[in-house]
């Protein structure tokens, strides 16, 4: 059933209508069809209204998601480049880029933002939006979370790499800066650097 858990009343109404319009139900008294037809019309209107509300809600959320996804493109591009830097050790989350593109493609776009004919087909047709489909907000959170974690890891590795480079050259003019930073920072966070250098 594609009505989704929030619209089970519509699902029940639809099933009841199908049962009432079954030839075996109408055969004893075909004139009952008149009443069934009235109920059918009411059901279509209710379903169309529910779908219209769902359509508007989906596309309101989808617009927000598209903005958020667009804002992350630079980060995806940076991650794709960082993955290829061999000095930064084994690549992290190599599938994030493709998952991100899949996510971006999965957010539907529709020019029919509102006011489509209540008597028309039960779906918006460009492209078809099922009434139980929601904007992929959970997937966005998952992928953005994975991206952020990957970026934090690469930042850490970049930091370690930079410190190693500087430590290797004690005459570097940046050495004083490093020493100053160590004095104000928590030395525990540098443990990896000390043990591997």
């Amino acid at each position: 059933m594609r009505f989704g858990p929030e619209r089970q009343n519509l699902a029940l109404e639809r099933d009841a209508l199908i049962a009432r319009m079954h030839p075996a139900s109408l055969e004893p008294n075909p004139s009952l069809w008149t009443a069934v037809a009235v109920n059918l019309r009411t059901f279509r209107q209710r379903h169309s209204l529910a779908h219209q509300r769902h359509h508007n809600e989906y596309h309101r959320r989808a617009a927000t998601l598209r903005n958020q996804i667009g804002g992350r493109r630079v980060r995806v591009s940076a991650l794709a480049q960082l993955i290829q830097v061999r000095e930064l050790d084994e690549a992290v989350s190599v599938d994030v880029s493709s998952r991100f593109e899949d996510l971006a493609a999965s957010v539907r776009n529709c020019s029919l933002e509102s006011d489509f004919d209540l008597e028309s087909a039960p779906w918006c047709n460009q492209p078809k939006l099922p009434i139980d489909e929601t904007a992929p907000e959970r997937q966005v959170l998952e992928i953005f979370g994975a991206m952020d974690a990957s970026m934090r890891e690469y930042n850490r590795r970049l930091g370690v790499h930079a410190v190693r480079q500087l430590m290797a050259d004690s005459a570097s003019p940046q050495m004083d800066t490093i020493i100053n930073l160590i004095q104000v920072a928590d030395p525990a966070s540098w443990k990896t650097c000390w043990t591997k250098t």
């Binding site: 639809r14 209508l17 199908i18 109408l26 004893p28 059918l40 099922p130």
Partner: protein, 97 residues
């Protein structure tokens, strides 16, 4: 009787169409139509009255059952007239999932 036979055949077509749209849509009218078809067949050219009587008795038993069969046929005709609109409505509802 020839007219009834033609009407039965015309009524059968839309009712048979239901079976592709509604699952398990064989109706009690099916039996009534079959019985009346048999009766009209036995009333055709070359049949004798004894054969007609035997078919009537075999298929309907008594006059009340024949009356019921004729009523069922009338309802089946009305149902047949709804075939197109019912099929369209069912197809629409099937899409709403």
């Amino acid at each position: 009787m020839l007219q009834l036979c033609e009407e039965i055949q015309k009524t059968r077509l839309p009712l048979e169409g239901f079976q592709t749209i509604f699952s398990g849509s064989a109706t009690v009218a099916d039996k009534a139509l079959s019985n009346q078809e048999a009766l009209t067949g036995s009333a055709g050219y070359g049949s004798d009255y004894i054969g007609f009587y035997n078919t009537a008795e075999d298929r309907f038993g008594d006059a009340a059952n024949l009356t019921n069969a004729v009523e069922a046929f009338k309802r089946a005709k009305r149902l047949g007239m709804l075939a197109e609109v019912l099929s369209r409505a069912k197809t629409d509802l099937d899409k709403i999932r």
